[in-house]
Every structure is written in C-alpha cells, then in structure tokens.
Symmetry: C2
Subunit: 202 residues, 2 copies
Amino acid sequence: MNETKERILFIALKFFLSKPFTEVTMSEILKESGMSKGGFYHHFDSKEALYCEVVNKYLIGSLMTDIEKFSTTKLTLSFAEAMPMYLGSIFRLAGEKLKELDLKPEDVNLYNIMFDMMKYYKGFDDILNKFHEDEINMLKSLIEKSIETGELRKDIDSLSLANHIHALMHGISVLSVLDENIETINDRIQELFNGLYRLVKA
Amino acid sequence: MNETKERILFIALKFFLSKPFTEVTMSEILKESGMSKGGFYHHFDSKEALYCEVVNKYLIGSLMTDIEKFSTTKLTLSFAEAMPMYLGSIFRLAGEKLKELDLKPEDVNLYNIMFDMMKYYKGFDDILNKFHEDEINMLKSLIEKSIETGELRKDIDSLSLANHIHALMHGISVLSVLDENIETINDRIQELFNGLYRLVKA
DNA sequence: ATCTGCAAACCGGGGTGTCGGTCTTTAATA
DNA sequence: TATTAAAGACCGACACCCCGGTTTGCAGAT
C-alpha cells in the first residue's frame, strides 16, 4: 500500500480513538498530516471510507489476534492463574497500544468507539457477536477444565459462570470509563475476581 | 413555568435521548415543536442551556426518586426476593418512561446519554458517583441483613459482593446495548442472578 | 404606550466534498 | 540516450450546505 495513505490512516486512527466520528473533522486530520484536501480525496472516497479503512487496519485485526493469543496459552494454567492474567492482559495490551499512539487511557472511551463502529462500520455487529462468543467459549472451557481438576466446585454451571465473568468484565470496564479513573481498573478487577474466586473454588 | 417552554423541553428530551448531543440539531427540535428560532431563543440562552434544563427536569430528578423508592421498600424482603425485584424494576421503570415518549428501547443508548451528561452537564460526575455509592450501600445493607438472617453464607464480604453485583448489572446493561437486543435483558439478569444466588446462599 | 411572545430573515463560521490545474515519476519510443 | 506521452500524486480555491445564534419587527394583551 501507498506510504502516504498509510500515514494518513495512522494519524486518523488517533483522532477516531479520542473522539466520536462526527466530532473528528477532516481539517484536523489534514493539518496533522500536512496534506491538502485534494491530496486526501485522491486517496480516499470520503471521510466514512477513511474511517472504515482505519477500523479495518488497526482495530478489527488486533481484536482477532488478541483473543487468539490468549486462547493458545490458557490450557496449561489453573483457573486462579489464568483468570487474572486474562483480565489483566486485555487492559495491559490496550495500554501498550495507546502508548504507541501517545494517547492517555482516560482520553479514550472504548464504548464510544464501539458504538461508532456499530454505526459506521458495516457488519461490526456480527464481528462483535462472534468475538463475544469466542470469549465466552474460552472461559467456558477453562471453567470446565478447572472443575475436572477439582479446582472449582462441581455444582457450577460452566456456561452460566462464563457469561457471569464476561458481563462482570464489561461492567468493570464501563464503570471505569464513567468514573473517569481508568488507572485503577486493574485493582478493581483483581478485587472482584478474588471475591468471585472465594465463591467458586472447591 | 411557561407552557411553551415545557413543550420545547419535552420535545427536546426525545431527541437528546435518541442521539448524541452534537447530532441533535436545533432545526429538528424547532420543526417538531412548530416554533421559530427567535421564539426559541426568547426562552433559552443556548442549545447547551436547553440540554441542561432537559437533563435537570427529566433525568436527574427521576434518577433520585427511583433509588429512594426502592430503598424504602427493600427492608422487608429477603435477598432472593429483593434482588430480582431491584434489577428488574430499574429496567421496567425505564421501559415505562420510554413508552410515554414513543421511544423504542433499542433507539436509546443509555451510555451515550451518560457520556453526554459527563461532557455537557456540570457536576454530573459527582451526581453519578453519589448515585453509585447509594446503590452500593443499599446492596451492602441488604446483603448484611441477609447474612444475619442466615439466608446468605457467613463468609461473604458484603461490600465486595455489593460491588460485584453493581458491576455485573452494568455489564449486562452495556452488553445489551452492544448486542442491540435490549428486550432480552430481563431474562439475562434473571439467569445471571440465579447463578450468583446459588453461589452465595447459605 | 409598553411589554411579551414569537416569526422571518439574516449572519458568520465551519463542515464535507469538487474541480481545474501543476508538479513528479514512470514508461515507451526513436 | 534523448524525447515525449501518460499516469499518479498533490495543491488550494471554491461551492454548497447547514450549524448555532442574532437582529429586527410586528401583533396582541395590559
């Protein structure tokens, strides 16, 4: 792909991560990339097309690889080990990527981004559903294994607990956005997980 | 208060519930209310002032009364009775209010609304924090009472479980928005709560 | 006569996208 | 290798529209 185009995509990424689609203006993207309007529209059909390419290149792809990365390593770990690692790794990964972009976590509203993708990126609902399914299946199989090894209570319904943890994660995540203190998210996760673990361990 | 002003406030409410602040235009509010710009700006200083009055009148107030309504009735109920009632009542109440406004639940994004209030309604962060605190305290005292009566396990940390349930609620809620199937939210809540109850009951 | 409530026309600014034209690189041909 | 044609990258002014907000004037009640 063209080098200029890639530079524009990268710069646009920052803006689309830090503001809703409608509040990002072409002017600021062009100013930042030192490019003219004419130059830009030579490469892209529209602002929305730019958005879709950004999402495609930077967001969709990494969503996929991240979950795969975890699902291959989980099998050797116990529930007590894997769980905090899983919970933490998501946010650590996100944090690293934001650092590369010189963005502070508190300037990025994950849910605004997802809502935007729902609106402007066709088929995102399917992708998201599949992503959630994968996450839950992963949790489910981890739970089942941990029941077999005797780590967790025998009377636990694995699917139910998987859904529970999944929802809990999103709850912590969205509350952190609302509270505007993303930094403490890892502590909160750890604490809530410990409480849950006390309830489910054998 | 003026009758015209109230009509504008009510119409504006619908728009602010169904779209982000920046995407709501004065033109559509004026068109819907059959009013001219001059007329509008006779009553309000700005679009933002309108927004704040709408939030003040319709959203902040009901947020307060709802939680009070519940906190006065909870004392006579067991955990198993109070919990689903509490969880369900929030969404039932919201549903009723949306019906009055001819809005479908799937057209309203609760978190978009909250993020907007964070941006444009001064002091909303404090209000929200207090609201969350109240919710958690309410849950906490319910849990403590239920531990005393022997309904719940003695080894449960009440604050930890309260936080847990609170986060879980928001998780279910935000996932329902993302999945775009708000209708099933009550079933999901019921199911996840049942799973949790099995873990915490004595 | 004055004040209230409102309508209509208007304003500046900023939004996305277009268009004619220029410069640069590449490719083909003699 | 020198010349020429075509393609690609880019510029900047401008068109057009719609935004929130202002100004002016007028009808009717007090």
